[in-house]
């Protein structure tokens, strides 16, 4: 208190409403069949958490991907635009079935590349990509996704670098390409949560029981300016 006894009530800054665009990339190939319902339930839980967090203005996008590199995988991808209709999003999610995809690797890099190219809101928005898969990725992007020689994981990493306020939340097996992705995000001071599950985990416990708390916490934080728009000479 000051010498005169006049005292102003302690202020607390009001919670600032944050903005988040969230893309869910879900491996919907046949090998995910034992856990796809568990993954869906996990996403329902997460979306419920978002709904109860009144201070997040969010949009949702679904990318159910399969294997573009395998000509025998005839099942189409399911790629939505962003929506702020939770009912519409959950209905689309509910319709996803695990099928197709013959060999061990899937087109995960392609799914990430498409997610990065989303129609994000530009102003102060958490650009969030959530990835679920039980498989390794093909090492290169399919020509229908990106048709230039630099089509490996580094292409996807560079695309990530162009996004401001990006977050990556992924639950997947421990393969080198995913580790490289994680490392690059950490090196670039980007937000990432990587939950690595054992390869060939027949019980799929890691993919079924996801802890969403870190992601919800990140989404609740206000966006900071950490980048520059002026090129170095």
């Amino acid at each position: 208190m000051n010498e005169t006894g006049f005292r102003i009530k302690r202020p607390t800054a009001g919670k600032i409403k944050t903005q988040a665009d969230i893309v869910f990339c879900i491996d919907a190939t046949g090998s995910m069949d034992p856990c796809i319902e568990g993954v869906k339930e996990g996403i329902y839980t997460f979306v419920e958490g978002l709904q109860s967090a009144a201070d997040v203005d969010y949009r949702l996008r679904l990318i159910a991907y399969r294997d573009r590199h395998d000509p025998s995988c005839g099942t189409a991808w399911h790629i939505n635009d962003f929506t702020n209709s939770v009912e519409g999003f959950l209905a689309d999610l509910d319709g996803i079935e695990a099928e197709g995809g013959g060999d061990a690797s899937e087109s995960t890099l392609d799914a990430l590349y498409i997610a990065i190219q989303s129609d994000w809101r530009t102003t102060r928005t958490h650009k969030t990509i959530v990835l679920f898969t039980d498989a390794d990725t093909h090492p290169h992007l399919h020509p229908s996704t990106y048709n230039l020689p630099d089509n490996g994981v580094n292409r996807v990493i560079q695309e990530f670098q162009t996004l401001r306020h990006v977050m990556l939340f992924m639950v997947l097996p421990d393969y080198p390409a995913y580790r490289q992705l994680e490392q690059s995000m950490n090196d670039a001071d980007r937000k990432i949560v990587a939950r690595f599950v054992p390869r060939n985990d027949e019980r799929y416990t890691g993919l079924r029981a996801v802890e969403w708390e870190p992601l919800l916490k990140m989404l609740g934080q206000t966006v900071s300016r950490t980048s520059t728009a002026v090129d170095d000479d």
């Binding site: 010498e3 009530k9 401001r164």
Partner: protein, 262 residues
């Protein structure tokens, strides 16, 4: 004989890591002597994330700015207090700082305010220099309004359009302003975006008046109060420097009459 009222000032500053792993901010409040005069320098630099050595860049730029201003003051020939015309001269010296051994790709913002009495205290002046989105605010002594003296150098997506690079040079541009008046400001503060992007301007004003009504004098106390003030929105490093006048109770009551008393 006219008796001039003595003005008492207090300066405090705080900087915290927030949810980040390291603090890449630099903040300082220094008293600089020139001839028989003194001025108060408030400075904050915010290291840019995603680039190397952001924190080291902030420290190097901050110290170099203080040193540059000090050198300017020591070498000027006039025995009078700083004039408005000298703002640009100082700015030109700040455009290229002497910094060695830093990665050129490192980057930081700058906001610096020089507050000082002129003409034996009959007028008060403030010089402000900035690059990037760190800010200087002034709490006006007559109205109690909080005035932002800087404008952010950033684009719609929040990317900085001006900043200091690790070689000590400004990328984009350095802005400056000079203002003086017959009465000193009630307070001057500097902030990084970890503060002003995480609360409303009116809330900063409320916080300033709270600090003044509490006669806050230690950095530790300010740090604690700042944490509580921003508690709902902390997601970055945050730094805050405050230089305020100790006003009389009636004066403070008048200026903060819209704020709830405890």
């Amino acid at each position: 004989m006219m008796i001039r009222r003595i003005t008492y000032w207090t300066s405090v500053s705080a900087s915290q890591t927030g949810t980040r792993e390291s603090n890449e901010d630099f903040i300082a409040i220094r008293t600089l002597q020139y001839g028989i005069w003194r001025l108060k320098l408030l400075i904050v630099c915010d290291g840019v994330g995603g680039r190397p050595e952001g924190g080291a860049c902030a420290v190097a730029v901050g110290e170099a700015v203080i040193s540059t201003v000090q050198n300017y003051l020591e070498n000027r020939k006039s025995k009078l207090t700083l004039s408005g015309k000298e703002t640009e001269r100082i700015a030109r010296k700040l455009l290229a700082l002497s910094i060695n051994d830093l990665a050129r790709q490192s980057a930081c913002t700058l906001a610096v305010a020089l507050v000082y009495p002129k003409l034996l205290g009959r007028r008060w002046a403030t010089m402000v220099f900035w690059a990037g989105d760190s800010r200087v605010y002034e709490l006006q002594e007559d109205s109690g309004a909080l005035r932002l003296l800087t404008n952010d150098h950033s684009d719609q997506e929040g990317r900085l359009t001006s900043y200091y690079a690790g070689d000590g040079r400004v990328k984009g541009h350095l802005s400056w302003l000079y203002r003086d008046g017959p009465i000193p400001p009630a307070a001057v503060c500097v902030t990084t975006d970890g503060v002003h992007d995480h609360c409303q301007t009116e809330e900063i004003r409320h916080f300033l008046f709270y600090c003044m009504s509490e006669s806050l004098r230690t950095n530790e106390r300010l740090s604690q109060e700042l944490s509580e003030f921003l508690s709902l929105n902390i997601s970055d490093n945050f730094s805050f420097g405050l230089y305020y006048r100790r006003l009389t109770e009636p004066h403070l009551r008048t200026l903060a009459s819209d704020l709830e008393e405890d």
